[in-house]
Amino acid sequence: MKSIKTLVLVTFASLLLVACGQGGGGAGSKKSKTLENTKKAGFVKCGVSEGVPGFSNADASGNWTGIDVDVCRAVAAAVLGDADKVKYTPLSAKERFTALNSGEIDILSRNTTWTLSRDADIGLTFVGVNFYDGQGFMVRKSSGINSVNEFKDGIVACTNIGTTTELNMRDFFNSKNVKYEPLGFESADEVVQAYDAGRCDTYTTDKSGLAAQRTKMKDPSEHKVLPETISKEPLGPVVRQGDNVWEDIVRWSLNTFIEAEEYGVTSKNASSLKDSDNPAIKRLVGAEGELGAAFGLDNEWSLRIIEQVGNYGESYKKHLGDTGIMPNRGPNQLWTKGGILYVPPAR
């Protein structure tokens, strides 16, 4: 009898242990399992795309660059003090949520659209938006098509499977009453190849993606993106549900990154602004307040982000502006300059 009791107790206790081990700090607690693990490992585990120039793309020597990559670099700078301490895992659209849910990565920064079902249904939390995008169509210039209203029955439209794009595409063609032929590929590279070979008449995905993929075509100047935008695609970094402290760290790393541009704090002038007259700037460079303590970091976390990664404007210019992928910032301009980038204040 006694041994059975012991067995039940042991089983129960170990189940509890397993439960706690996976839970990672409840609401209100300052402890974050993900933060502890990241500090122990010495690098931030970041999921990126398999190659979207300007957003997350690896060069010949394996260095990742892009504005999505900079989110992970910002978190690494804040948490570990070195923006280069990131381990990148390239993921297809299909693998991304499973990789995050299973703990293979801790941040998913891979042009992922924030939707209700993803946020609420599959155990994920979106922390913000780092790129306001919308779905568009690319066609060959020679096709003579100038507007999405000129699509006719029988048009072959290619895209990636498992994306919001695939669903929007159907809604769009149904609303226009056009019978289209859908063709869904697993990776973006295959879509580019099939489109380039003439299998598809149009390639549809987020406009940023179209601009980036166009650079991979045999002759980019033969193709154009149609002016219409058929959907809202707010893209942003995602974390697992349940670790509120980690969620806050990623959210505020992103917000700081954007707010730094608003106050004109750049990687070059950040350290010299410690004795600025503006308290908001002083808070950003860690000269005032104890903001880092709120999630278990020191007070220079935001200064490190700005010094090592730069601000959002610098990052945008470097990856999307100077490369010619999306020189026009459009809605991704600060709210003070006519765009919709507006983040809560860091105070």
Binding site: F97, D121, S143, G144, R170, E181, G184, E190, D201
Partner: protein
């Protein structure tokens, strides 16, 4: 007496203990993983269940054998994927067998050139990874095929283009009567075979079975056309312009390039293995058997049909069953080239749109298991039929 009993019991227990331990380890492993998954899913607010299958899928699929569009359910999308998997497997198995037998026999040909060509074929296609062959046929074909306005024209009836192979569509009336006539023909041929076998065994009469069965197979459907109102007409594909440079074909049936490339690469790859099985089977029949058959006056065709093949088949069938299973499972590589099989549609799109990884992967694995087991059962039955019957 007593002593002996204890010893037997001990032996039984001794045999049982390892089995109990195995079961215990297996069970606790399963329980550990299930509870762990349960806890993790609870923590992240992920619900487990199959209710999503009834929800509207809201994504479209390129190619479907049954009525489907995004307004149907996920369960229907699963069925579309399953049927597409079965379609490409059946086509693949058919052509792999045909090509495999031809290549296998060719390798034993006395003609040096034919034998060498067959040998090179086997060595080349067996040793290149299948996924590369699929990519090769798909992207090479896409690059090589013309746009619809410059289609390769087969007598104005069929057109081969980068967007697919457009063929005439059959428009039937009273198709079910036609189907009944085909089934009737098959039954009639079965009875005719029994009859001709009896004639041969009892009276030594050789009936021209092949030509008579062909005649039956043609007459029955012909009668259905002449007397039972079955009609068949064709809808031909017609070129249609969508914009100054975008063309497509309207009407007819489009065999999409993804299906062509996949069926082609699966059959060419698997044919090499089947060819080797066929060669092994024929070589495995003792030379004396052929000599004995020749000595009782059978001609070359009769020797092959009545003496060599029945014995060779016993060697060929079991490894060929494996190849059929491989082909079916390899068809899951379809996902790489956008052929909408069960992996692309269900374990791909549906999984990503719903996020129900555990449920969907389990269903998909179970489906492949069922497919494979069904093929195995059928091939085992056929193997038993072909086995030596001790009399």
């Amino acid at each position: 007496m007593n002593f002996k009993n204890i010893r037997i019991q001990n032996k039984k227990i001794r045999n049982l203990i390892p089995q109990f331990i195995t079961i215990a380890i297996l069970l606790s492993t399963i329980i550990y993983f299930v509870t762990n998954a349960q806890i993790n899913m609870d923590n992240r607010g992920i619900a487990f269940g199959f209710g999503f299958l009834k929800q509207e899928a809201s994504f479209d699929i390129t190619f479907s054998l049954i009525d489907y569009d995004g307004s149907y359910s996920y369960a229907r999308a699963f069925l579309v994927g399953l049927l597409n998997t079965i379609l490409v497997s059946v086509i693949g198995i058919f052509f792999a067998t045909l090509l495999g037998v031809i290549i296998g026999v060719s390798r034993l040909s006395e003609n040096y050139l034919i034998a060498k060509v067959a040998e090179w074929y086997v060595e080349i296609f067996r040793n290149i990874p299948l996924i590369l062959q699929i990519f090769f046929w798909y992207f090479a074909a896409l690059r090589a095929l013309p746009l619809p306005n410059e289609a390769i024209n087969f007598n104005d009836i069929s057109f081969l283009t980068v967007k697919g192979f457009y063929v005439p569509k059959f428009i039937w009336t009273n198709f079910n009567i036609f189907l009944i006539s085909i089934i009737g023909a098959i039954i009639a041929i079965y009875f005719f075979y029994k009859f001709s076998k009896k004639q041969r065994e009892q009276f030594g009469k050789q009936l021209p079975t092949a030509s008579i069965s062909l005649l039956i197979f043609l007459t029955f459907p012909l009668i259905s056309f002449l007397f039972f109102g079955v009609t068949l007409s064709f809808e031909y594909p017609v070129l249609k312009q969508l914009s100054p440079t975008i063309f497509t074909f309207e009407g007819g049936l489009n065999i999409i390039p993804e299906l062509l490339a996949l069926a082609l690469s699966l059959s060419m790859y698997t044919a090499t293995f089947i060819a080797e099985n066929v060669r092994a089977g024929i070589l495995g029949v003792n030379k004396g058997q052929k000599e004995a058959a020749a000595s009782i006056g059978l001609n070359k065709n009769q020797i092959l049909k009545l003496v060599v093949m029945p014995q060779a088949l016993r060697i060929i069938i079991p490894p060929t069953t494996n190849q059929y299973l491989n082909l079916t499972k390899n068809s899951s590589l379809a996902a790489a080239i956008a052929y909408p099989d069960i992996v692309l549609v269900f374990a791909g799109t549906a999984l990503m749109q719903t996020g129900r990884a555990i449920e969907i992967i389990s269903i998909t694995m179970l489906t492949y298991l069922t497919l494979s087991v069904s093929i195995s059962i059928f091939m085992n039955w056929y193997n038993k039929k072909m086995a030596i019957k001790e009399k």
